[in-house]
């Protein structure tokens, strides 16, 4: 018998350490690529935030120029929305949805890879704008015309064109991903997993996908018209030639408000997964939580013009959008009360995912309540476009979404990589972030009420203005430290291999992703148990315990 020195199964270039990631169509690897890329952009956007805070620490600072401040502010917003929160949700969805529903992969694995690579391409295009003539876009992340038009006193450079191109690419990426999620969730659930036994995170991803498909075309159309104005001489948004500036605002926010829920609903889904596991209880009112997700999505399509109360729409429209915005508070309130009730009489385990989830609950509630001030349009006339708004949406987007993301990262990290992140560092990071976040954003409410407009590169008031701004900057530094601790934790866990290896189900969780190994094999499951409830793993544990006795 001849012996072969080569491996029996030849290892092609596609299996190389780097190449395997470049050609992968495995939903888990694509998910991890999404999450890793998003965290990278999160670090970049965070750096921009720190630059802005440094500039605003005291009145009349010259840390940034006024031009670069506007660029930094525009790039921070665009990056956080389009390159961090939306794609990291796609990343979690990619990794988790097939595992949670007991499927082998997404419905269209190659389309899935395309979505990711388009996302990376869009991110690169956006960040290349720094090197374009005229620098990065500086018209804010809404890019309202006429400031975003090509007039010499508006946005004549190519940064705005890079922005438009990036939005087009990212929109395509998101819609393709959304189609993939919907097909997967509708068709590939394992035996026994009815809609009412589906994990709540999967409900959230289903709704996220529907909203993406409904909302993304609106911004695609808006930026296409803007591109035509800039490059083809049309006048869609140039009032002197019959264009309408309000049209862009409507198109943008018709996308922009659902976008808020596109970002926050998957975060809700994560909280709905994590809170029960660490309370050792089922979610309180599964159906209410699932259907409130759908209700929020429905109403989110009807509230867009509450971003436009100061455009002089008239009290008739203002009134309609106030009522629809208040209606959306009801299903959101249902979720908060149901989450609270989930912890009631539980056996609360304060591991890092739980700390971040409880932090989410505390901060998101506050962000939701300040939203009521803004929904009441006469009050909004006073608060809109001030730092109060900046504070409000950061309580939702950072206190809510980013805290939920960290909860999710710490919770699913062992499943993704087979090692537990260091708990002490994780908790340290949580406390620093909790304090730092509140120091950064709570004073911004006061600044807005004192009359500080958003998007100003400097101010001339001393006194309380300076005090609040300085506290805010100090909080920003603390927040940055907490993120640095998270990064150090990854390095210690994996670079130094200090992280403890874990089994299939370190948290004694409820859903199917914990049934397979950590990390899961390429094919996910050798077999999937028949699902008889929303908590198949708990059912399994109970059956095993009964068999043992």
């Amino acid at each position: 018998m001849t012996t072969r020195s080569e491996a029996v199964y030849p290892v092609g270039w596609k299996n190389g350490r780097v190449a395997s990631w470049l050609v992968t169509v495995d939903h888990k690897r694509i998910g991890i690529l999404y999450i890793g890329t998003s965290i990278f952009f999160f670090a970049l956007a965070g750096l921009l935030a720190i630059l802005m805070r440094a500039q605003l620490t005291t009145p009349g600072e010259h840390f940034l120029t006024k031009n670069s401040y506007n660029e930094v502010m525009t790039m921070h917003g665009t990056t956080m929305v389009f390159l961090v929160v939306v794609p990291i949700m796609a990343g979690f969805g990619n990794f988790l949805v097939p595992l949670m529903i007991g499927a082998r992969d997404m419905a269209f694995p190659r389309l899935n890879a395309l979505s990711y690579w388009l996302f990376l391409l869009g991110g690169i295009v956006l960040w290349l704008s720094w090197f374009s003539s005229g620098g990065a876009p500086h018209a804010g992340w809404w890019s309202y015309p006429t400031l975003s038009e090509a007039m010499p006193w508006a946005s004549p450079g190519h940064g705005q064109d890079y922005w438009i191109l990036a939005i087009h690419i990212l929109t395509l990426s998101s819609v393709l991903g959304a189609i993939n999620f919907i097909v997967t969730i509708h068709n590939m659930r394992t035996a026994g997993m009815t809609w009412m036994r589906m994990p709540l995170f999967v409900w959230a991803m289903e709704t996220y996908s529907i909203l993406l498909i409904l909302a993304m075309p609106a911004i695609s159309a808006a930026v296409t018209l803007l591109l035509l104005d800039r490059q083809a001489g049309t006048h869609f948004f140039i009032p002197g030639h019959g264009g309408s500036l309000l049209l862009y605002q409507h198109m943008f926010w018709f996308f922009g408000h659902p976008e808020v829920y596109i970002m926050v609903l998957p975060a809700f889904g994560m909280i709905s997964e994590i809170l029960p596991v660490f309370s050792r209880k089922p979610i309180f009112g599964y159906k209410a939580v699932a259907f409130s997700t759908l209700a929020i999505a429905f109403f989110s399509m009807l509230v867009w013009a509450h971003h436009m109360f100061t455009t002089g729409m008239g009290v008739g429209l203002d009134g309609f959008f106030m009522i629809s915005s208040m209606v959306i508070a009801v299903p959101t309130g249902i979720k908060i009360f149901n989450w609270l009730a989930t912890t009631w009489r539980g056996n609360l385990q304060f591991d890092s995912p739980m700390l971040f989830s409880l932090g989410f609950l505390a901060m998101f509630t506050f962000g939701g309540l300040t939203g009521i001030f803004l929904a009441a349009f006469p009050v909004d006339w006073q608060l809109n476009d001030s730092y109060f708004i900046v504070a409000h949406f950061h309580y939702v987007a950072f206190g809510g979404i980013v805290f939920a993301l960290f909860a999710g990262l710490y919770y699913w990290w062992p499943k993704m990589f087979g090692r537990m992140l260091d708990e002490r560092l994780a908790k340290l990071s949580f406390w620093i972030m909790f304090v730092g976040f509140n120091m950064t954003f709570l004073p911004m409410h006061m600044l807005g009420l004192l009359g500080m407009a958003r998007r100003v590169y400097t101010y001339h008031h001393g006194g309380l203005w300076t005090v609040y701004n300085s506290i805010s900057t100090a909080g920003g530094v603390l927040t940055a430290i907490s993120v640095a601790i998270f990064v150090a934790n990854i390095w210690i866990t994996h670079g130094l291999r200090k992280g403890a290896r874990v089994g299939n189900d370190p948290w004694l969780a409820d859903t199917l992703e914990w049934y397979t190994t950590s990390p899961p094999p390429a094919h996910n499951f050798d077999s999937v148990p028949y699902v008889t409830s929303a908590r198949p793993l708990r059912d399994l544990r109970r059956r095993l315990a009964e068999d043992a006795t």
Binding site: H138, W153, L246, P282, Q382, S386
Partner: protein
């Protein structure tokens, strides 16, 4: 750590509350002291919402802290389950209906306050002023044709009806003490109003990103006696318009003495004193290698341009060493 959590959350809440009370009487807990009826009624609506939301806030955060404290694991293992409660329909209906009622109450208050915020008192005979937003200044047109830049002069106790417009980009008119914002949108006419109840100077700021000098686009309202107002619009506005234009418009980029800054040094640029050339650059702006000058004066009349030339001749222009003639 487990024990520190609730204590810490409580400490933070207490600290916030104390800081709040300490900073009260307007340390940024409410909109600035209103000096106009619309701003006062906005403050009333604000307080009503504060009342309702504070109850919800303390209820939710209080329960959260209480549950965290009461149901902490106390060393119980992860395998010890809490009671397997899957929901409670009546409770869930209750916490759906109560928020609906609260929101109805807030909505009712808002709609009750709305007429007093949105519309000026019917009996008043308002002064009509046109507010024009520009990169990067505000221009005010008074009923008698007078103009002023960046500072709006009004008589105390008179309703002022503002017609808010713009020609270049979107701006947003905002004097916090005198009510809310209204965007100045090119191609559209918006309206708002105020009635300054006390004499004084009320400061504000453009609230919509309008370009590099957005932060410098400050506006203010000076409320004074009827006779002082009459004197201002009758004579003083026209007498100072040249200076107002240079200080409020040109100096933003070119420096208080025209020495240059964001824009080039213009102190010895003979264009400053040539009517036709100056009119062209004010009307159409200029794109040069250093960037673009917006068409800052595209709505200016001849008298304004003459006044500007007269002012720069007197106070700014230094003829070039080679001897350009004014």
């Amino acid at each position: 750590m487990r024990r520190k959590l609730p204590i810490f959350v409580l400490a933070v809440l207490v600290a916030l509350a104390t800081a709040g009370i300490a900073a009260a009487t307007n340390g940024g807990l409410t909109p600035v002291q209103p000096e106009s009826p619309n701003a006062s009624h906005t403050l009333t609506a604000y307080w009503v919402i504060v009342g309702f939301t504070a109850v919800i806030f303390f209820l939710v955060e209080g329960l959260l802290v209480a549950f965290i404290w009461k149901y902490r694991s106390r060393g119980r293992g992860r395998d010890v389950e809490g009671p397997q409660v899957h929901g409670h329909s009546r409770l869930e209906v209750i916490w759906t209906v109560i928020p609906v009622l609260i929101l109805c109450a807030i909505g009712t208050v808002v709609f009750l306050e709305l007429p007093k915020i949105d519309a000026a008192p019917a009996s008043a005979n308002p002064i009509q002023v046109t507010v024009e937003g520009h990169q990067f200044y505000w221009q005010f047109d008074y009923p008698n044709g007078a103009r002023s830049i960046n500072t709006l002069y009004v008589p105390v106790g008179q309703v002022v009806d503002l017609k808010v417009i713009a020609t270049d980009v979107i701006h947003s008119w905002w004097i916090p003490a005198l009510g809310g914002k209204i965007q100045a949108i090119p191609g559209q006419v918006n309206h708002t109003w105020f009635m300054a109840e006390k004499a004084g100077t009320y400061e504000g700021q453009c609230a919509e990103l309008c370009g590099v000098y957005h932060a410098s686009m400050l506006g203010s309202v000076v409320a004074e006696s009827q006779s002082a107002y009459d004197g201002y619009v009758g004579k003083y506005a026209a007498a100072t318009i040249g200076e107002q234009e240079f200080v409020g418009v040109c100096a933003t980029c070119h420096g208080n003495l025209g020495q240059g800054g964001y824009g080039p040094n213009i102190a010895s640029n003979s264009l400053l004193v040539q009517v036709a050339g100056l009119r062209r650059i004010l009307q159409y702006g200029e794109s040069g290698p250093l960037g673009a000058m917006p068409p800052v004066g595209d709505t200016w009349n001849s008298a304004q341009i003459d006044a500007l030339i007269a002012y720069v001749k007197k106070s700014i222009y230094k003829s070039a060493p080679t001897g350009g003639t004014p």
